[in-house]
Symmetry: C2
Subunit: 141 residues, 2 copies
């Protein structure tokens, strides 16, 4: 996991100001993969004291726009964020407990980006969500 100075560089590289809340949120996102907003707020507060939820939302939006974090929203769940960007991986979501795990795509770097007929759309990203059951939910059945 990147260090605080790495995050600082990332922020500066994205032309964003380096502030305590931003570093805290960035650290929280990297330390809690697929965490929902509330978890990130909790984590940010744990390392910073008090942060308004508004600041976290704002920071997350800025970071998402800058491409430093990725926002994922499985159906039926609240928005979640993750720090791994640019490596084109996808997600498995457990139907039972909502757990999310990373999976690399089988095909390569930009898989499935070749739709049979693209309807004239200019496709620039393919997002894949696998639905299934996680190991612990499978066994507890």
């Amino acid at each position: 996991m990147p260090s605080t100075s790495d995050f600082e560089q990332s922020l500066r590289a994205a032309a964003l100001r380096v502030t305590r809340p931003r570093l805290a949120v960035l650290t929280a996102v990297h330390g809690h993969p697929h965490a929902d907003t509330d978890t990130i707020i909790q984590a940010a507060r744990a390392g910073l004291g008090e942060v308004s939820h508004q600041a976290v939302y704002d920071v997350l939006r800025a970071l998402t726009a800058a491409g430093l974090v990725r926002r994922i929203e499985p159906s039926g769940s609240v928005a979640r964020y993750e720090g791994r960007t640019g490596d084109n991986h996808h997600h498995v979501v457990c139907r039972s407990c909502g757990a999310i795990a990373d999976v690399d795509c089988a095909v390569g770097d930009t898989p499935c980006l070749t739709a049979a007929n693209d309807q004239g759309f200019t496709i620039d990203e393919a997002e894949v969500v696998y639905w299934g059951t996680c190991p612990s939910c499978s066994t507890s059945t």
Copy 2:
């Protein structure tokens, strides 16, 4: 598009009672592909008079559970529903205007269902969303 009697049969086959609201919602979903909940409510009312939003939500949930309709939720959008199920197609979403179009997958019937490492998950469905720009938004740039 299926007729009302087809919908009746589908409902009965799913052990659901055939009611006016259900037929109206089913018709609305088939007549308005990828429509959001509000649109479906409007469409159902157009063919039925007055329907409570609660009934529509309930019907949509029942139909989704029965597999008669499919629920899709692109990030940043409200829930949408479609009547085409079982043919394993995917969607292109326009980042600009939010338009949704169907695409058949290039690989075949159950594409991309082979994740590189499934983390022990039992995967039963792969959902693919292509992000891009629709023809009209591309040209108007």
